[in-house]
Subunit: 250 residues, 2 copies
């Protein structure tokens, strides 16, 4: 007879050993309902059930017994159940993070792109190069990478100067779009053909007065041109550097 | 005979109608493998399969046929499959967002808390009140709410002055912790008994020189005390106000 194995964490949570989750659904259903009974008897608050890919058939059983999804990866599904009414379950990730780069050269020209895919009938709508952070990527890195990928221009990160918080952005989750000021290290544009229709150095004044440029884009460029912004700083004891990134005013 | 129904989105993605997902696993397995064949014939890039709670038994079948989890809610699981090799699948939320409040009163005293649950052997380690954003909550709102919940002090949001980016924070996802400067609207502390051991107004100088206070906390308080920070701004055309929040330097 196989039975579920679990440990209890410091917050009164039963944490089931994924290796003890059976893919035989009849057996798992019996194991799980006995376990839930025990968790109530032991006055636990929450149970955490990680179901490995090989046992995904257990998901439907756990759902029938009151478990809900917490998060998933390609390799497992994490489900939870509140044993105590209204017990606190720390939420999963809630936000998307993106960054755009304001790159102004020594001739007071701004690096702008227009995207290939845009709503029909709209003008070119020049905007900043930028995009979403890769997993584990720093904001400064992401800004430099996105600008390079879309325009071929190498840059150095200077400061963060603006950001926008936007709820219900995609699949009910929120988005934060940061704006970075970067200094160009060269001037020769190489367009990324797949996504970018046009890329050019546009006189800053023209961009700020161009009708087809969205007010949001004018606002963030103006802000980056006029303010020092938040610079990268370090704090002793936070290592490795790839894991932590700090921004402060100077 | 029931068959999967789908539409094709502008990015070459087949989007399966969740109502056509059968909870009868044998039938679903046949339907899905025919559909995958069709998607290849039609040169689609990606397929999106939303499986409603009532059909969670279909998850294991879809996984066996090459689908991987994209994201989950309490009501459904979204799975995807790349029909074209390396097709782009827009990622799901990647970050947790939290905020702490620097509240300094007219006597140059800082509002600090110490948490009930902390590593044994550690000192009280006074820190800022704060916590994670609720779904759809603005940063300014969250700072004011967390300070009030933990300390009973009502405040008004002034500015953001610092932030920390931390990778692999929980379940492999990253975290951004913002620091807000808030002005106190009253002085009478009411501790939240459940999580907070101590709450007091501490002379700012003392906090900045106290050995038991973590360098990170000293750094962010100093930054908030010395700089104006990023203020809330608005941009015409972004409505409703609950959906968008903008921060800029002034």
């Amino acid at each position: 007879m196989s039975e579920l194995v679990w440990s209890v964490n410091p917050f009164g949570g039963a944490v089931v050993d994924p290796k003890s989750v059976s893919s035989r659904t009849g057996e798992f259903a019996t194991d799980l309902s006995s376990a839930i009974k025990r968790w109530h008897e032991e006055n636990l608050k929450v149970a955490w059930l990680e179901i490995p890919k090989a046992s995904f058939s257990a998901i439907a059983i756990a759902s029938e017994q009151g478990f809900v999804f917490h998060h998933v990866t390609e390799e497992y599904a994490m489900m939870t159940i509140q044993i105590e009414d209204n017990a606190f379950v720390p939420p999963y990730a809630t936000h998307y993070i993106g960054i755009g780069g304001v790159v102004i050269n020594e001739n007071d020209e701004l690096l702008v792109v227009s995207e290939k895919y845009r709503a029909p009938g709209r003008g070119p709508g020049y905007k900043l190069p930028g995009g979403a952070l890769l997993p584990g990527e720093h904001l400064a890195e992401a800004a430099v990478r996105e600008v390079f990928e879309e325009t071929g221009i190498s840059t150095a990160f200077e400061a963060l100067t603006f950001f926008r918080h936007w709820h219900d952005y995609r699949y009910g989750k929120s988005d934060i779009y940061f704006v970075a000021r970067l200094s160009p290290l060269d001037n020769d544009i190489t367009i990324q053909e797949e996504e970018i229709a046009e890329c050019l150095w546009m006189p800053l004044d023209k961009f700020l007065n161009e009708d087809s440029v969205h007010l949001f884009n004018k606002t963030i460029v103006k802000s980056a041109a006029e303010h020092e912004g938040l610079k990268i700083t370090t704090i002793d004891g936070y290592q490795p550097a790839e894991k932590f990134e700090f921004f402060t005013l100077s």
